[in-house]
Symmetry: C2
Subunit: 369 residues, 2 copies
């Protein structure tokens, strides 16, 4: 079917004279997203430990939720009956849902993969599930996110050129079926570029995916265990090949250095579970570094994590208090660190945006130097 893309305009508001970086603005039915932008992950229709009110205060513009997990529980029928994912979870801003591809391949006891799709056992109740491009899109149409992702095959690392080539071929075929299955003009379907660490396969994947003229494109198959230099090389090569007038999304990446390098290559969107996962282990992300609040040096510190951080946690609590909460395994500690860590990554990507607009961004840009 043909979809009107009027609601998903991507405007480039500024480009970097030194790199491929750009500052953009991506319009969706639930609001605009200034890019570069980090997207917090809300796997099970919530960003772990945070209310939507707290999430909004972190500066989050758009969040990601997981089709695979929501299909298993509570099921997309319940979410659809509740008026869609936005209303169900009380988040009125933009949402992106992944396709489930990554989780099907990485989390499931797979029984069979063929051209049709993937058959696996639900880890929750053992029932057999047959995941196909059509089912993924059908679920995502029911969930109602602003951006939905194509169902792809994400090979692990390492994988041989033959294996990766097969995954690229299958991903392209599945993408066509996703486009066919897609039924809602208020959702933008993004294609995903696979190709592993092989430049020629990445190039071919870009060509095949872009032939479908989609409202946005993602670079998948990175951050799957490959050495970080390989990831940088893939992103540096792949991002510039994607159309300049569409948002580019690097999947599963959310560390300072990797986001900066990717922005320099022309990437606009990121997602990663680390700010909330780190929080649950007491790990703080701050000013370009990460460290653990449980360390003895913080036991008596009356300083906030970062005196320059405007988040609720830094405005109200000392390191000593946070150290106590995390050492005592109090849930509030996870909440407060999640608030800080997400705020930090939101600010980092928005600072990059500002630097690009001001012509100050470059390969070694560092807002704290």
């Amino acid at each position: 079917m043909t979809l009107t893309l009027a609601d998903f305009t991507f405007t480039c508001e500024g480009t970097c004279p030194h790199t491929q970086a750009r500052a953009g603005y991506f319009v969706t039915p639930h609001g605009g997203i200034p890019t570069p932008c980090f997207m917090p992950v809300g796997t099970l229709a919530n960003v772990k430990t945070l209310t939507p009110a707290q999430l909004k205060e972190t500066g989050a513009h758009i969040i990601l939720s997981n089709t695979y997990h929501l299909h298993l529980q509570p099921g997309e029928d319940i979410i659809q009956a509740a008026g869609g994912l936005h209303r169900f979870m009380g988040w009125s801003g933009p949402i992106l849902t992944d396709s489930g591809g990554f989780q099907v391949f990485s989390l499931s006891a797979i029984r069979q993969i063929n051209e049709e799709g993937v058959t696996f056992r639900s880890p929750l109740d053992g029932r057999i599930i047959h995941f196909t491009p059509e089912l993924s899109i059908q679920i995502q149409n029911a969930l109602g996110a602003d951006v939905i992702m194509a169902f792809d095959e994400c090979p692990p690392y390492p994988a041989s050129p033959e294996e990766v080539e097969a995954a690229v071929r299958r991903t392209t075929q599945w993408l066509k079926r996703c486009v066919e299955a897609h039924r809602r003009s208020d959702q933008a379907l993004f294609g995903i570029v696979q190709g592993g660490v092989y430049p020629e396969l990445r190039r071919r994947a870009v060509e095949e995916v872009c032939r479908l003229d989609l409202p946005g494109y993602a670079i998948g198959g990175v951050s799957v265990g490959e050495p970080v230099e390989f990831m940088h090389a893939v992103v540096r090569q792949t991002a510039p090949l994607l159309p300049a007038d569409r948002p580019r999304y690097l999947m599963g990446v959310g560390t300072y250095a990797e986001m900066r390098a990717a922005v320099a290559a022309g990437v606009d969107l990121f997602d990663c579970v680390i700010p909330t996962r780190y929080a649950r282990h007491g790990t703080v992300i701050s000013r370009g570094k990460r460290w653990n609040i449980k360390n003895a040096e913080h036991r008596r510190s009356l300083d906030p994590i970062d005196p320059d951080c405007p988040c609720y946690t830094c405005r109200h609590f000392s390191r000593a208090y946070l150290c106590h909460l995390i050492r005592a395994q109090e849930i509030l500690g996870y909440t407060l660190l999640s608030i800080h860590n997400i705020t930090e990554l939101m600010r980092y990507t928005q600072k990059m945006r500002q630097a690009i607009l001001e012509g100050q961004f470059h390969e070694h840009w560092d807002p704290w130097s």
Copy 2:
């Protein structure tokens, strides 16, 4: 030492024509408390899963924190250095700390009890701790709560009259040492009445405790496993014996029926862990009943827990969403149910207050009938 009690005025604003109930107002250095009032429990310097901002929104006036737990971690020295418990945990309203007596007797591997105090092993690191009335008050002076509690001996149920009599005698002696040890005029020291289920021992305990002319009195040794009728009988007998011009606090009680009966007997303050503990099991307190949000009937319900409840949870989320979160063991579910459950008990006690002031309160009062 002599303490000025000017900061701890208790004013009776209205009495019930049908029962012993009264509507009061208790002044503390960190704010006034309209009574009857439920106090949420913040054992480890936080009410589990809630930020102070969320807690305030529940309508909480005063919270309780645990001396025993805070002594073990992070230690009162750290909290004192941070400016006291209020500043440490970011709660600017009134706080009450218990004495640690209940926890020492119920949670510890006790090695020795004698007139001097209790010797036990820390469950955290195995070190030997010698808890005395003096140490309890010293810790509570360091924590800096508005109301502090005497260190008492709380016998289990069942206990023989001889055992309970010994506990009453020891509690009285320890209370005198607590009064001697107390060093801060900005903290009100409450005495605790023990006496088990034995009316004569309760009467004697009241007499002995009240001889010390304290700014408030608590009924302890209830809700320790005795049949509920025994608890009601103890409260009905004991509360009216306590001075009418001081607040009366029933320790560890927080269910609808028990609070109503206690208010009818003239009790003003309550604390209980159930609203937050229930939340972690998916149990909802609402309109005089309790039920579990995980039940199948809620899976697809688009209703809030209670359409009349003004809490953040009821204003924003359906039962279906809460059911999903709790079934998926998402922490946010515990937070959202804690917000509702605490709000519910705050509203229940404040509704009793209103009913007393309006002459509508009675033994079988029910705001939902």
